[in-house]
Symmetry: none
Subunit: 321 residues, 2 copies
């Protein structure tokens, strides 16, 4: 799980000086918990606020990212006030100090970078006061959501298109995946079959995989799925295929993967985890898209001329299963 540790966060034991001051704020009330509450709080206090405090508050609302990432000194300079003014503003709004005030802006940045309905979810999620199973389920669903979200933000469409191009030209597609990644290969194998695309999964229990590998040529291609800790068997087969000049399309979890180095093209799929168990949802989404994309590419661009610009948005390849 992530976001466990928020430095400068409210809720950690207040330091003595902060505690002393917290009681002395004008409102004498609890500080706003999120950005929206803070905005309202400022609007309400607005009229009763001294000149410089108003100036600082206006700057804060106008440049929230600066507050989140800057230091008291840098912000003060940009807002043309003194650092002490920022501290006073924080106290005035009910915070124990500037750092607490700042953490609201940092949380906001975090949540913005994440997504939207995820934010709602995360806020709601703090209140899964129900059963143990409830917490587990929510944890894994959140991990799945985050994974999908991250994939759609980080996926390099051009790289995906290149992978599709490589696979569309292949005579036979070899599928390599073990252990945790295996379901991805299983699903692609099924989809390729449905789409009448020749694909072979290297998962035989009879140890003949190595012999099958030696039948692959540069005219074929392979899809290798592997995540840390990378299954030795997958690495070895990828190595063999690479040495035989078989184009390699790799789906792996980071640029640090040993597979990224030997790949012709590779895609990053980094899954979130809950309680140490990683999601597979993003990988499965990719494993669903890839075969369809290959089938479409073959329909339109192969064996005819290059990457013709065809207007359709919906694949003609129609539903299976």
């Amino acid at each position: 799980m992530e976001y466990l540790f928020h430095p400068g966060q409210r809720g950690q034991g207040m330091k003595k000086s902060a505690r002393a001051k917290a009681a002395s704020n004008t409102a004498g009330l609890a500080p706003p918990l999120d950005f929206d509450a803070l905005r309202q709080s400022i609007a309400r206090a607005q009229s009763a606020l001294p000149r410089r405090l108003t100036q600082a508050a206006e700057y804060a609302l106008a440049h929230p990212d600066e507050i989140a990432l800057g230091t008291a000194a840098s912000i003060a300079s940009a807002a043309e006030v003194q650092p002490s003014t920022l501290v006073r503003l924080a106290h005035q709004l009910g915070f124990g100090g500037f750092s607490e005030f700042q953490s609201v802006f940092r949380d906001r940045l975090r949540l913005r970078a994440a997504t939207y309905d995820e934010r709602l979810r995360r806020i709601e999620q703090g209140t899964t006061d129900g059963s143990y199973e409830d917490a587990l389920l929510n944890g894994f669903l959140t991990a799945a959501r985050q994974s999908i979200e991250r994939l759609s933000e980080t996926i390099d469409v051009a790289a995906f298109a290149r992978c599709v191009g490589v696979l569309a030209k292949a005579e036979t597609i070899y599928l390599v995946a073990r252990r945790r990644a295996y379901p991805m290969a299983a699903h692609m194998s099924y989809s390729f079959g449905k789409l009448s695309i020749r694909a072979v999964t290297l998962d035989s229990a009879n140890g003949i995989d190595q012999e099958i590998v030696t039948m692959a040529t540069a005219k074929d291609a392979a899809i290798v799925c592997s995540f840390a800790p990378y299954a030795p068997a997958s690495l070895a087969q990828a190595q063999s295929l690479s040495e035989r000049h078989v184009p390699l399309v790799v789906l792996t979890d980071s640029a640090l993967s040993p597979l990224a180095a030997m790949a012709t093209h590779w895609l990053e799929v980094s899954e979130s985890d809950f309680a140490g168990f990683r999601s597979l949802s993003a990988g499965m989404a990719l494993a669903t898209a890839l075969p369809v994309a290959v089938a479409e590419r073959r329909r339109f661009s192969f064996p005819a001329a290059g990457p013709a610009a065809h207007g359709q948005k919906i694949p003609a390849t129609r539903g299976i299963a």
Copy 2:
């Protein structure tokens, strides 16, 4: 003008200590200027990097937001390394210190937050003005998102808990799934194995499945995953198991499923589709959660008394793979 002052930024006069160290990095080269360059830089250095440095680098690529917003100490703690290791990593990559390294992540966060609204709009509209592959990818990612969303809205936590209860009591868990649902069984099989829970997948190619079914008793349990059009083999096996009074936990797509009728307990997983191809992301999320939940239930509630309310939110069962 804004963003004039970036604390800890490169480009401001280097402090003496930083200058001294900057020359001593292994590469002796200029530090990466943006996140992508940094990622590549890490990938390149990867093989020559010591163990802890690799560990820190992996954490950095996996949790970029944490690096941006955290402190050296908080990050070190989360990545399970020493703060000094982070400084060493920064030096190794050509930065003058941790702060310079961190500023790359902060800049990235700034940019991300800036373009966030635009991207979100694009995703929601589905107006991917780019290539055909872009449209496909977005379609499948949207389908995955919707599936997860729907599952988290409609899932009946009590029913899930009952399923977990049934499976926790089973001596052996039989896994039944074919075709499109097969990856779910494959994944659960893997997880159960990792968790030392006895599970048997009925997917043998040698036609002995039926004989295995006859070995199941009422003390065991089965998980059947099947979606329309329901694979005949799965239906038949579910029927056999049901007749032998083996408790049946069914994961299927609607109340109309023939499997819902014969199930002891069943869960609804209805996936969205794109271009007729249904997602599997929600099902995989459920398939990830189920084995962990069973393992946890066994740890706490079994063979002791019933569904005791235990307070823990985080499973003691720790990460696999």
